[in-house]
Amino acid sequence: MRLFRPILVLAALCALSVAAVAATPAVGAAAPDFQLTTIDGKSFSLSSEAKSHKAVVVMFISTQCPYSNAYNDRMRDMASAYASKGVLFVGINSNKNEDSATASSHAKAHGHTFPIMKDPGNKVADLYDAQHTPTVYVVDPQGKVRYEGRIDENYEDPAGVTSPDLKNALDSLLTGKPVAKTVTKAFGCSIKRV
């Protein structure tokens, strides 16, 4: 969807349009920088963290969305597995109806030790035109988006995954290979914006 923005604007003029129109960083373009405070009170800067890691995985997540929650264990396990490879996973909760305390207790309940941030006013979600949870963006050390979309194709059965898209993207990035599938899609819950 993100690659269709220019087409979308044109299409709107032709009365063929999608209601929510925003500018999403295309894969290969600069990831919008942002600074937020984590739910445990630490400052976070995407540009700083991108420079000091081999990749940063920005995940738009929810405490209530069944699709996002289906990936809780996979988020925990991937964040842990890739930490030693220089990849930082971070969670952003942009839903107006989920407060910091809820996000914090949810993180503890699911062993999410990676940085998690509330996104007041869904400003970061707007910057990325993130529409639903879970959606992930992989940002390289140069601050460019290298992958956007889902974690994998099978939210119902982790053992039945046949297209581990995020893992594939990270492995390609870490080995200097081009990411084969840069944009993927899956169902998810609309981000509850202000």
Binding site: M1, L8, L16, Q131, H132, R150, K185, A186, F187, G188
Partner: protein, 162 residues
């Protein structure tokens, strides 16, 4: 390939108080369902029982259908609930008794293929609605809750064109 299964024989898109799923549907089946309604304006709404905004707008969709049925609007619902939530879907329909048919997305295949087949600009967020004119041409897609007033104005413009 015919990929639409009328499990309960609710093939018509114009029913009254439909309390059960009309069947399973995939992208091809949906295309066929819309094509069968040529001559009507069709609004397809993708929803799920766990999706709060979807539940919130369901009654509005029912009223929208009722207000515009005689003029030629046909609303079609497609649940994207998990396969193991099918009972919850049936319970929801039994409670809400929508005046339009609802299908359950057929299990199997990659969700991305279904999403792209419905609308290449759709990212997978729910709810999502697609509006087709009387000729079956897609004229608009709505991401998130349907802006009922604006959508109805557009629908009535389409309905005004025979």
């Amino acid at each position: 390939m015919i990929a639409l299964f009328f499990v309960f024989g609710s093939g018509s898109l114009a029913g009254e108080g439909l309390t059960r799923l009309a069947g399973e549907i995939d992208a091809e089946g949906l295309r066929e369902a819309v094509a069968r309604e040529k001559g009507h304006v069709v609004l397809v709404n993708f929803w799920a029982t766990w999706c709060v905004p979807c539940r919130e707008e369901f009654s509005s969709l029912a009223r929208l259908q009722e207000r515009n049925r005689s003029a030629g609007l046909r609303v079609v619902g497609v649940s994207t609930d998990f396969e193991n939530q099918r009972t919850a879907v049936e319970k929801f329909l039994a409670e809400r008794r929508p005046p339009f048919p609802n299908y359950h997305r057929k299990k199997g295949g990659d969700d991305q293929d279904f999403i792209d087949a419905v609308d290449s600009r759709w990212g997978g967020e729910l709810p999502f609605s697609v509006l087709y004119d009387r000729s079956g041409r897609k004229v608009r897609a709505f991401s998130g809750k349907l802006p009922i007033a604006a959508a109805e104005r557009e629908i009535r413009k389409l309905l005004a064109n025979p």
